[in-house]
């Protein structure tokens, strides 16, 4: 690691630069080494598999070139599943992040019970998926027993005189995906909240004081001080939201199992089905690679968008 540190002093500037670079490079070496073992190698293997036809177990794997990708391009169900994930992501980007930012701003102020809120808002991410699945199943249950609604939401709608709105929330293709998106936002906003809160903490309060002295109102302080200072953190939150929401899967399984025709399919459920349901390992790998490319593009898009708004 610091082998180059024990150096004679008569070296030329050029060697010094190389030495400097090496020293700097050594900072990222632990990360790079871990990565090459646990990530780069499997990545190339997966890429190789995506060009093959293999059931996951048999010794014979046949080379099919880009056939898997060609099939995937025409796979309507796959692209629908990508759209579903994008829909959930859009809701998460707007609704979830707006909520998280509003809550973080509120908790950044000098208000009472700040600590209490801060703890409470992080409860949903901590809760086990089992509990989340159970509770929302119960809330959104559409069954009727002895003339009474079992689900809390429907029960409450009947009680408040709105029986017309009673719905089979999870088994109706029109509402299922939105319900899933809402629960996903509820489960995930805690992450955005603490990251944004941490970001707000690093803003120098002298900047706020200065704005006040200049006679700036609350809105213009927010617009000209808080927002520009927060942009880098916001862009990280946006990227993580995209990644988290596009790859949503456990929640879907907990809420609708494999159900509802193709209305609740997302890329990860398709990949898992190809791998374990229809035993097409190569095809699953080509889905993974394609999905990765889509995600990289989306993140780049949000990044350029972020830097544009900055200007």
């Amino acid at each position: 690691m610091s082998v180059v540190a024990t150096n004679p002093t008569h070296l030329k500037p050029r060697t010094l630069i190389i030495q400097d670079n090496l020293k700097n490079l050594s900072f990222i070496m632990p990360a790079v080494i871990l990565f090459s073992i646990f990530y780069i190698y499997p990545f190339f293997e997966i890429f190789r598999l995506s060009l093959q036809d293999w059931n996951g177990i048999s010794p014979d794997r046949s080379w099919v070139g880009l056939a898997n990708f060609a099939e995937l391009m025409k796979d309507k169900v796959w692209w629908t599943s990508v759209w579903h994930a994008s829909y959930i992501t859009l809701i998460a980007l707007t609704f979830q992040n707006a909520l998280a930012f509003a809550l973080a701003l509120a908790c950044d102020r000098q208000i009472r019970m700040k600590k209490f809120y801060q703890v409470i808002f992080f409860l949903p991410p901590v809760l086990s998926e089992v509990v989340v699945g159970l509770i929302w199943q119960w809330i959104l249950n559409a069954g009727v027993q002895g003339g009474q609604q079992i689900g809390i939401l429907n029960y409450w709608l009947v009680q408040s005189g709105l029986p017309g709105l009673v719905n089979n929330w999870l088994s109706n293709p029109e509402t299922a995906l939105t319900c899933i998106a809402v629960v996903h936002c509820w489960k995930g906003f805690g992450w955005g909240f603490i990251m944004l809160l941490a970001g707000l903490q690093t803003i120098d309060h002298q900047l706020y004081e200065a704005a006040k002295v200049d006679g700036a109102g609350a809105w213009s302080t927010f617009r000209h001080v808080t927002l520009p200072m927060m942009l880098p953190v916001i862009s990280v939150v946006v990227i993580l939201t995209i990644l988290g929401s596009m790859q949503v899967f456990v929640l879907i399984k907990a809420m609708v199992s494999q159900g509802l025709g193709y209305h609740t399919e997302v890329p990860v459920t398709r990949i898992l089905l190809a791998m374990q349901g229809t035993n097409r390992f190569g095809y699953a790998c080509s889905m993974g690679v394609t999905f990765g490319i889509i995600l990289v593009c989306l993140s780049l898009l949000s990044k350029t968008f972020g830097s544009k708004t900055k200007q």
Partner: protein
């Protein structure tokens, strides 16, 4: 300062890599058999049996449980590639994958052991229990005929009815035919009780139910002909099968939301008397007993539509274990499995876990509901018994199509056409 920290980090890396190299290969122990399984409910009983086995023979059996089953399957697949499978494990997949394991040399052929002494070991079992692990002469998978696994228990999937709710609706006997069933549903509706619940959010439960009716409506021959591509899915009989689901929806026979229910939630609904009928497997006895011990229910076959052909249900070995062909402890592993399928051990397993034993002689001491499950074992069938199975891509479209019918989005005719289209694509792909 800089250097000091650098040295510290360097030392940390060294310690790390040293401890890595420290945990090298352990010595192969020829007297310890390792077993990997996924059966949470049987883990305790298996561990106790293993301890007993060690006392009797001095051979240690290490039982390792990996659950849920998806994670278990991943582990087995990865271990096969790394060639580090344990001595005894189980395959939780289609017969095609089972055959791939055999062809890869990962599973030992147990036929000589089963056939020894006039098939002594083979005769202990229900024939159906062994069928799951049997490859017959001339099978489509190209596997040498024989028996490749040992069944631990048997199971089958049927309909259950709630005695109290049927009485409340004035239905005297559990319905035998589909039209009687629909009448019972109307009677139940009048007293505000929902009809049928099942975990149809899980595709395999739909597969099972539709397969039952396909057998009843057209019989095994025609189903196999369809799989071979000789009969189209647009055949009236297949539309009739899909129409079963449409009728269930039209007559309001289903509890709201079955299409997205995982079976565990469906089990909860039936146990809490939210529906009068359930479609579930024999493992439910244990489940219902835990949720609602006072639940009064009976077992019945799914009500038949066609009186000319028998109703078939899915059943067979609930879980089977295989022996690793590459293991140096192969004979010891086989001996342990044989011991495990003896009457005493089977009786113990059945009693502890409320499952049907695979050993016929162990059937004596089981609860009444379970024995009524067992009584129709002759009518059981399973995809693993059939000469060939449908292409999984086609079945996926078929089952997802049923879900579309259940949410009233498509008609049976539309689905039949869609499935047939995919079927033809797959057939032409195979010809190439």
């Amino acid at each position: 300062m800089d250097r000091k920290l650098g040295i510290m980090l360097f030392a940390a890396v060294m310690v790390f890599s040293l401890s890595c190299s420290g945990c090298g290969k352990k010595q192969e122990d020829l007297n310890t058999i390792s077993v990997w399984h996924w059966m949470i409910d049987r883990n305790k009983a298996l561990e106790e049996l293993a301890a007993k086995y060690e006392q009797q023979t001095g051979i240690k059996v290490k039982i390792d449980l990996f659950a849920p089953s998806e994670a278990y399957t991943q582990k087995v697949v990865a271990s096969a590639q790394a060639k580090v499978l344990p001595d005894i494990y189980g395959i939780l997949d289609k017969k095609e994958i089972f055959s791939a394991f055999i062809k890869g040399g990962f599973i030992a052929d147990l036929t000589p052991d089963f056939k020894a002494n006039n098939s002594e070991w083979e005769n202990w079992f229900f024939p159906k229990a062994l069928d799951v692990n049997r490859f017959v002469e001339g099978n489509v998978y190209g596997v040498k005929p024989g028996i490749y696994g040992v069944p631990l228990d048997v199971t089958n999937i049927q309909m259950l009815y709630n005695v109290k709710l049927l009485k409340k609706a004035g239905v005297k006997a559990p319905p035998q035919t589909f039209s009687e069933f629909l009448e019972a549903i109307q009677a139940l509706k009048r007293v505000g009780v929902s009809g049928l619940v099942s975990g149809w959010g899980e595709l395999w439960m739909l597969d099972c139910f539709s397969s039952n009716y396909a057998f009843n409506i057209m019989g095994e021959e025609k189903i196999m002909a369809t799989y071979r591509g000789e009969v189209p899915y647009t055949d009236p009989d297949w539309i009739k099968v899909l129409d079963v689901f449409k009728q269930l929806v039209d007559k309001g026979a289903l509890l709201e939301g079955v299409v997205t229910k995982a079976n565990k939630y469906a089990e909860q609904d039936f146990a809490l008397e939210r529906a009068a009928f359930a479609f579930n497997g024999s493992w439910c006895v244990n489940v219902y007993n835990g949720m609602n011990p006072s639940l009064e229910y009976g077992v019945m076959l799914p009500p038949a539509i066609n009186s000319n052909l028998p109703m078939k249900i899915w059943g067979g070995a609930g879980s089977s274990l295989v022996v690793n062909n590459m293991s140096p402890r192969k004979d010891k592993a086989i001996a342990f499995l044989k011991w495990l399928s003896e009457k005493d051990q089977q009786t113990y397993l059945a009693k502890e876990t409320k499952n049907l034993p695979s050993n016929r002689e162990a059937l004596a001491e089981i609860p009444e509901v379970l024995s009524s499950f067992a009584s129709v074992m002759d009518q059981a069938t399973h995809p693993t018994f059939w000469a060939l199975n449908e292409d999984p891509i086609v079945s996926e479209v078929f089952l997802k199509g049923i879900q579309s019918i259940l949410i009233g989005e498509k008609t049976p005719e539309q689905i039949a056409q869609e499935v047939q289209k995919v079927k033809q694509e797959q057939l032409s792909k195979k010809k190439k």
